[in-house]
Amino acid sequence: MKQNIIALLQKNQIIGRGGACFPTALKWQSVKKAKGKRKIVVVNASEGELGLFKDIYILENYLDQVFIGLQTALDYLNSTEVFFNLNKKYYSKISKSLMRLVEQYQASGYQITIYQEEPSYIGGEETTLLNSIEGKRRQPRIRPPYPAENGLFGCPTLVQNVETFYDIAQVAQGKYENKRFYCLSGKIKKRGVYHLANDLSISEILKITNNYPDFSFIAQIGGSASGLVLRDDQLAKQKMIGAGSIEIYPLTIKPHELLYKWFDFYQQESCGHCTPCRFGSYQLWQQIRKKKDIDWEATLALVNLMQKTSFCGLGSSLAQAVNSYYQNVINYYAS
């Protein structure tokens, strides 16, 4: 199996499920190729984006599968060293089964360190996560070097999301069915995590799960802070993007309410490393708090600044939510 795992990952088009969708086989090969005796695998169970709760669902229901995926990666890299980066809030929920598996794997010679991370959005960014584990300030690193060459404690490091390990396990056992996990939330009947085909449209997902609203609505997909906002009539052609989430808002939701949710989240979550994210998100949040009317020109300018000049993906990601909301909803209904 060792020999053909790369081919299997490629054939099944396995990609990172943390949201960046990077081809898994490619990531594995770079870590394999990187120089260094000590190679480390990091499980990313940080899950700090709004509207996402699939990682904890997988950890609660399929933890053994996650470990099979993990073992597959370790064996491929001839490594035994794991840092399990776990959102602190999740620890108490899974500690029993987690510790049982850790003991079991340790008995077979794997070294697994559980790192309980303070919950945050930036904490899921892979270089920030590495800094946290190393006890350094929680902020992203400059890339290059990439973690694959120079990651945790300077070693070549494979960082992978919980769901990706689940997928790898399925591939390794010949059970992969081209499915992914979808988190559905907002104004719907059945909030929850659904394991469905990869290539469904957003409308189909809502229909299959009996969640298609009977009122006019808008949807935010791929994260409820940074995700893309679409009208209901745009959903039949749209497939899932990023980390799989759909949040439904009624069309009547006040722009103020939506923007406040996003801006409040970003100003709280900004690590403070760079100017546009640190101060831009704060300005946006204050403006929305202090003013009844939305100054769209000023808002879009700040969002554009954050998109174009932020240090990492967190700061720049706000633009997708605000710009798509403005284009697809605000501007659309204004004209």
């Binding site: 979550e269 490393h273 100017t275 546009p276 101060f279 704060y282 403006q287 300018a301 000049t309 240090f311």
Partner: protein, 571 residues
């Protein structure tokens, strides 16, 4: 093997870059202005301020500090998009800072103010953020004003490079600021490199100008100025002159214009230190005791030993530092010669250093109840004072130092890393061998390397010496000594890169390249001197032979020597 340079294009003009070099560095080297606040050529790239924006040929806006040179990479530094985004980031970053700046309050000579004017920043639309207001004191040397901090990380980064890691960024979002370490095992050594690397003066020396001016205005006081070796070759930078320009004579004139009654020179004190220290070295060599002997001119290094390596306390020379030596000489010997009351004398040292402020307040140094040095101001404070008084230093005629300030070339090079070593060697060699040195320059201990090692031929024996700049490098030597205690007999350590000439109180910008140019100025100064050995300085000969030699051992101790104690945090 020489590295092959690659062509890159900045604003359509071709330049050569080292592969992987940051484009900001290429621009900087070629004098193309790209504003930046968190980037410093000697520090690792931080990438936080997002001011150094440029646009690549695909129209993508990028930070030039993180953009690495590759073959034929083309960037533009001032497209419309870049200008607008840069201005927005500057406004966001400096809005809070602007109202809280120590330098802005003086309304001149502020790099931040220059940026505000140059980029026509308008803060009216920006909502001020909550700020922390508690000022953190680094003993009496420096202080951090979090309200002015822009979280650029330069201070924390240089503190780490020095080998301490006392400063670090804390908190997140808009509350992100630099703070001092709470770790009981980490303490500040007051070197002040943080103050020399703060682009907005949020970390700055504790200003003592007001006290100095009060003394000058007090008619009962006899106020003496003494300037450190390193000030004369760097102060010119504050007046637009090249680093290394020697303004010794202009400084004397300026000090008189500022109202000092006498103008002496720390270089003379350095000559005293050399004599005391060389004698101690020869004594220790003879007795084979407490070797290697470490220099102790640098109070930051001394604090490092007292806090981090108390096991080395007995290895520090017991000689006081130059300005303390000369200050003590004025208040004893000179006061007697002039017939003035020591308590009416006020000694002001102008130093390239912030830790000298801390050193001057050591009670153990008092002589007959009086501080050898009453006030210490940095090169930067001196420049602010001159500008406040509209004194154009570069335009002044030169004048001479007052007689008791006469010094040798050996004193003049004290500012350079290796300078104390070289001065001591010039004296120790002649006193040990009884022969005159054929060549005064000890080139092995010169230069900008962090560690220099040499074996000096002392006739019947070899003297193994080492010179370290920064305590990070000193720590390497200490580790080496653990394995081989006989590795060296004499070691010079300065806390700052390049020695005092690269001190924390020196003009900003402060880079290793500039420090090298300043250093060259010091060696030129020495090479032009007639007297180039401390023991040939007639003033010091007079002081030592006709005054010190006639005192009791106890009285000599009080003026020439000091002691050290184990320090706990914040001592």
């Amino acid at each position: 093997m020489p590295v092959k340079k690659v062509p890159v294009y900045i604003n359509k003009k071709k330049y050569l870059a080292l592969p992987g070099e940051s484009m900001l560095s290429v621009a900087q080297r070629n004098k193309i202005d790209i504003p930046h606040l968190c980037w410093h050529e000697d520090l690792p790239v931080f990438g936080g301020c997002r001011i150094c924006l440029v646009e690549d040929s695909d129209g993508k806006v990028l930070t030039s500090c993180t953009l690495r040179a590759t073959k034929d990479l083309a960037i533009t530094t001032d497209t419309k998009d870049v200008q607008q985004l840069r201005q927005q980031n500057l406004q966001l970053l400096l809005a809070n800072h602007q109202a809280n700046c120590w330098r802005c309050q003086q309304k001149f000579d502020c790099p931040t103010n220059k940026l505000i004017e140059k980029y026509q920043l308008d803060f009216s639309a920006i909502i001020k953020t909550k700020i922390k207001e508690k000022i953190q004191k680094l003993n009496v040397a420096a202080e951090i004003n979090p309200a002015a901090c822009i979280a650029c990380n330069q201070c924390a980064s240089i503190c780490d490079q020095i080998g301490i890691g006392y400063l670090q960024l804390v908190d997140q979002g808009t509350l992100t600021t630099v703070e001092t370490s709470k770790d009981a095992k980490v303490d500040c050594i007051y070197c002040g490199q943080c103050t020399a690397h703060c682009p907005v003066s949020a970390v700055h020396e504790q200003n003592q100008l007001a006290d100095v001016i009060d003394s000058i205005e007090d008619n009962k006081k006899i106020v003496i100025a003494q300037m450190a070796p390193s000030v004369r070759c760097s102060i010119g930078e504050e007046f637009g002159l090249a680093p290394g320009t020697d303004l010794t004579g202009q400084c004397y004139t300026a000090l008189r214009q500022l109202g000092f009654d006498y103008v002496f020179d720390v270089n003379m004190g350095a000559d005293i230190t050399t004599l005391v220290e060389a004698a101690e070295l020869l004594k220790r060599l003879k007795e084979n005791k407490n070797l290697p002997m470490f220099t102790a001119c640098c109070p930051a290094w001394v604090k490092y030993v007292e806090f981090y390596h108390p096991e080395l306390i007995n290895n520090l020379t017991s000689a006081r530092s130059p300005h303390i030596h000369s200050g003590g000489a004025y208040k004893t010997w000179w006061a007697r010669e002039e017939g003035v009351k020591p308590k009416n004398i006020v000694v002001v040292s102008i130093m390239p250093c912030t830790s000298k402020k801390y050193e001057a307040r050591h009670t153990k140094l008092k002589i007959n109840g009086l501080w050898p040095v009453d006030h210490v101001i940095t090169t930067r404070e001196f420049a602010v004072w001159l500008k406040q008084r509209r004194i154009d230093l570069d335009q002044l005629p030169v004048s001479d130092v007052d007689l008791p300030g006469q010094y040798s070339g050996a004193g003049a090079i004290y500012g350079a890393s290796g300078g104390v070593m070289e001065s001591a060697l010039r004296t120790a060699y002649e006193q040990y061998t009884g022969k005159a040195l054929k060549k005064l320059e000890f080139k092995q201990v010169r230069g900008r390397q962090g560690i220099k090692k040499a074996e000096i031929d002392f006739g019947d024996r070899q003297l193994k010496v080492a010179v370290a700049a920064t305590v990070r490098n000193a720590a390497l030597l200490i580790a080496e000594l653990k394995n081989d205690p006989q590795a060296y007999q004499y070691i010079e350590v300065m806390a700052c890169p390049g020695g005092c000439i690269g001190g924390g109180g020196q003009p900003i910008p402060h880079t290793q390249k500039i420090v090298s140019q300043r250093t060259a100025g010091l060696y030129r100064h020495d090479s032009k001197m007639k007297v180039r050995k401390a023991h040939d300085n007639p003033v010091v000969q007079d002081f030592m032979n006709n005054y010190i030699a006639k005192l009791t051992r106890q009285e000599q101790e009080r003026i020439l020597f000091t002691t050290y104690t184990v320090k706990k945090k914040f001592d």
